[in-house]
């Protein structure tokens, strides 16, 4: 993977920026610095980044094509809603909400494990079809469970997704996936994409790599779903359909496959574009896919495809001083 900048940035700058960002989020929540619309967009941005980077693990780093990410989102959304509304509604949101989010993530991760098992024998187009079928099963399954409201949807979810929580989960997701990608497990996942036979022959247990990618990806998909449910306070099975998955795909392929910076860029561009294009009404859904078509023709790997902003790369990955020619 090539990098945007060839030299590591000064140590601590990223941390300082991060701390400032989190403090800003806290201040915004505490003193109501921005209006509700801006706050809503910012939370959506955070959720979209989580969705985008987690799907990127499977579609970018592992090079498969999953269209089922909205399904994991749905699982996380519904399970977390059950936790916060039905099972632990007496709890203080301060500890109950993180528990609900983690629960949603675990639920999605467990189902992601099953989908990962299916990916052992199936690849490419066929795996894409399986993920599509999975998405339909999840959606119809939820529609048929009266306990969570069936097709009418799940009502009365608390408004727990604050800007600060969103920021914390976004940073946590990016940090964990970055650590994973720059570890032997991440390299195993990338090796599966590059050449599965060679990966196997070089000692990569490709089954474990696939399971890791699917479980981690779906866990964070579930986390995003949980945040989403507690942002909108009302969820409906029809929200989590192929259109939702397509939106996440647009973010991934707009920003760039196999790149953290690309995921952030794609999610940001998508979030603001879809807000800016709001006045166009349904024409929006003509323009966004059109952008995708143009991207696929001129930059099939996305803006930052396979490249990384050097601030996200661990320092050990950079050439040592004495290595320089």
């Amino acid at each position: 993977m090539t990098r945007w900048l060839q030299h590591p940035p000064p140590r601590g700058v990223l941390l300082a920026l991060l701390a400032a960002g989190l403090a800003a989020c806290f201040a915004i929540e505490q003193f109501g610095l921005v209006d509700d619309y801006v706050r809503f967009v910012l939370i959506t941005l955070g959720i979209n980044i989580i969705l985008c980077v987690s799907l990127n693990l499977v579609n970018g780093w592992m090079g498969e094509f999953s269209v089922g990410h909205a399904g994991f989102m749905a699982l996380g959304a519904y399970l977390s809603a059950c936790v916060s509304v039905k099972w632990l509604s007496w709890g203080d949101p301060l500890w109950m909400f993180p528990l609900a989010v983690i629960g949603g993530g675990l639920m999605a991760g467990a189902v992601g494990f099953l989908l990962g098992l299916l990916s052992f024998k199936t690849r490419g187009d066929y795996l894409a079809i399986i993920t599509l079928a999975f998405l339909m099963i999840v959606k119809s399954g939820i529609e048929n469970i009266p306990y969570v409201g069936g097709p009418r949807g799940f009502l009365g979810i608390g408004n727990h997704t604050t800007l600060l929580w969103t920021a914390v989960w976004t940073v946590l997701t990016l940090w964990t996936i970055r650590n994973l990608v720059y570890s032997r497990f991440g390299r195993g996942i990338v090796a599966v994409r590059e050449d599965e036979i060679a990966a196997n022959a070089m000692g990569v247990d490709t089954r474990k790599a696939k399971l890791t990618a699917f479980v981690v990806s779906s866990f964070f998909g579930g986390v995003a779903g949980a945040l989403f449910a507690h942002q909108l306070q009302f969820i409906n099975p029809s929200v989590f359909d192929i259109v939702k998955s397509t939106e996440i795909l647009v973010m991934v392929y707009l920003g760039g496959v196999g790149s953290l910076a690309g995921s952030i860029l794609g999610a940001t561009a998508f979030t603001f574009l879809s807000q800016a294009l709001q006045p166009l009404g349904t024409w929006r859904m003509v323009i966004l896919p059109l952008i995708l078509v143009l991207l696929m023709i001129f930059r099939p790997r996305g803006i930052m495809g396979m490249r990384e902003f050097s601030w996200f790369v661990p320092r050990r990955e950079f050439p040592k001083k004495e290595d320089k020619k």
């Binding site: 032997r184 090796a191 060679a198 196997n200």
Partner: protein
């Protein structure tokens, strides 16, 4: 000496096609063992059975006296058999370092939760892996290309990188599938020298498939000749060269050069 690798009566059928039929041979530790045979004789299939890509229809493969038949390729790689491929199979979009690192990772022992929260032990292991891979690449003369994209390297370097990647597994047996493919005679001469260095420096046992007769005859301690999935002859270069069956089936005309 006890053989390092024993292939015992291996038969491999693909539907009606019999690619290997009752194939048996032993590889002695420290030897460079050549497999030759006409196109379609089953040489690459034999490699694929040994490295676990195919599970044989019948028969057994023993490595250090233990059966590895039906093991997954990654397990066999961990046990100490590394290989290269006939048409180079590098991770083309990754850097030279990452190519070698993926194989070297077989020896790293940190857990995935440790990796995800960046435990000091995981970070330390990562640094050690980078150091080990850098040293290895320098030995293979690729020290200046560490951060290049593997697919951008010239052909000869790609071959060398593929062998370096295999050696990063620290194997006791190295399988080379036509290492001289696509090389001219000067390059092949260099390759013989390189393989000799490899054998002495890493004291690795080699099993190689090759069409280039001169290379096989000069480099290999022992040669197995396959035809139609069967062993038709085995022995030293001289024995094989004189074997009438080999001459008939393979070397055919003139003087044994292709």
């Amino acid at each position: 000496m006890k053989p390092l690798l024993e292939v015992r009566g291996v038969t491999m059928r693909f539907g009606g096609l019999v690619a290997l039929s009752d194939l048996s041979f032993d590889v002695t530790p420290g030897h460079a063992h050549g497999i030759i045979g006409p196109n379609g004789a089953g040489k690459t299939t034999a490699f694929n059975v040994i490295t676990g890509i195919y599970a044989p229809t019948q028969g057994d493969v023993l490595f250090r006296g233990e059966s590895i038949t039906g093991c997954r390729p990654s397990t066999i790689a961990h046990r100490g058999i590394a290989r290269t491929f006939q048409n180079i199979r590098l991770f083309r979009d990754l850097t030279v370092l990452d190519n070698v690192r993926i194989a070297c990772d077989a020896h790293a022992r940190y857990s995935w939760p440790g990796a995800m929260i960046q435990l000091p032990s995981a970070r330390q292991a990562e640094k050690e892996t980078i150091g080990r891979c850098t040293d290895l690449l320098e030995k293979f003369g690729l020290g200046n290309e560490i951060h290049e994209r593997a697919g951008d390297l010239p052909y000869g370097s790609q071959r060398r990188l593929e062998i370096a990647r295999a050696m990063a597994l620290q194997p006791s047996l190295l399988l080379l599938d036509e290492p001289a493919a696509g090389m001219n005679s000067a390059e092949t001469l260099n390759l013989v020298e390189f393989l000799g260095w490899l054998r002495d420096h890493f004291s690795v046992t080699m099993l190689l498939i090759e069409h280039h007769m001169q290379l096989v005859m000069t480099f290999c301690d022992r040669i197995t000749v396959l035809d139609f999935g069967k062993t038709i002859a085995e022995g030293t270069a001289d024995e094989v060269r004189k074997n009438p069956e080999v001459i008939e089936a393979y070397l055919g005309q003139e003087d044994g050069h292709e």
